[in-house]
Amino acid sequence: MNSLLLLNKKIYLIFSFLFIILILFIFSLNFFKKDDNSQNQITINKKTSDISEPKFSINSEEKQIFVTANEGNFLTEDEITLEKNVIFKSNKFKIYTDNVVFNKKTLVASSRDKSKFISNNTSIDSAGFDIIENGDIINFKGKTKLVLK
């Protein structure tokens, strides 16, 4: 005989009900946690972001790199941190990351966050990058994967 049939129906129903309640409880906890985090982030942003949606370009004789981000904060007189959805865009490539330190004086951009470079038939995933010499040299850091199509 099937062992399941030996169980008391009432006990089985109670356990099933309790199990469903438990799952719903865990899900609701996670939902409220996320909601709290986003609220916290918004309040922090309101307090700390020096520049909202900064936009500027790094110019060289031949090309321009446009830089955009959701937030910007001054670190020193010359250094700015660009945060969230940071994009470097030139006519040849785009780089996406979430955190970049940019030096206005030296025009060096540096990131230690996960970055994605996309160009014509090329993509590079790295653990950060340095853009130097007006974008002529890009140094992708750490474990890096380059895919050529």
Binding site: N120, I124, N139, G142, T144, K145, V147, L148
Partner: protein
Amino acid sequence: MIKLIIFFLIIIVNSKYALSRNIGETEITTDDGIEVFQEEKYYLLKKNVEIVSDEFELNGDLVKIYFEKDLYDIKELFASTDVNFVSSTYNIKGKGETLTFNIKNEQINVTGIESELFFETTEMFSDGSITVNNIIGSFFIKGPNSKLITDEILITGYEINGIVVNKNGTRTISKLEVQDEDILNIVTEDTKMFSQKAFYDEEKSIIELFDNVKIIRGSEIITGDYGVLDTNKNAYKVSSKNSNKVKAIISNTK
């Protein structure tokens, strides 16, 4: 339960391949990043570099790739430090301290101690450099301990240059030039040849030997200044600038 575990193990093992590159793509991984020089049009791949494509696989510790317009448009590749290279498409594999691969000219150059390049059934070794051009069908081996081995012949010398031609789908050596300031060595199935310079011409079916010539076949040892071996008739002749110089030793070893 066991079936379930096996099922998950299969999924975990195959996930590596499922996430790997697509056909036609070249995947390059490095442990210490990539430096892209847009003006100079090259990029440097650093530490434990692995390149996998449809045509070839390469491992090295430092790789420099030159490109034409964009990064994918590879012109030439230079790899150094314990380089390993395999191409099933071109039927070539090799290893050495450095490797240069010119994509357009289909030319490979391997350098360094214990360099190796296997080109179909031809094996090349050197402590100097080995160059193979797939389009022209030429090869150059230069340096100490240079060696060429095929199914029919073994050659050692400081400099071994040759041309390979495709006959009925198989590549055979059509021309060969070997030089060694000390002494070079050519070994066929039944003959050993020594000299300082040698030429092989497949059309004429001859091997010419110059300076300090010595031919050993069985119990015969002939020395002189010039030797010629007819590979069709399997006969040879040795001569000398000085008519008294040719020396033949025929010993009965039975």
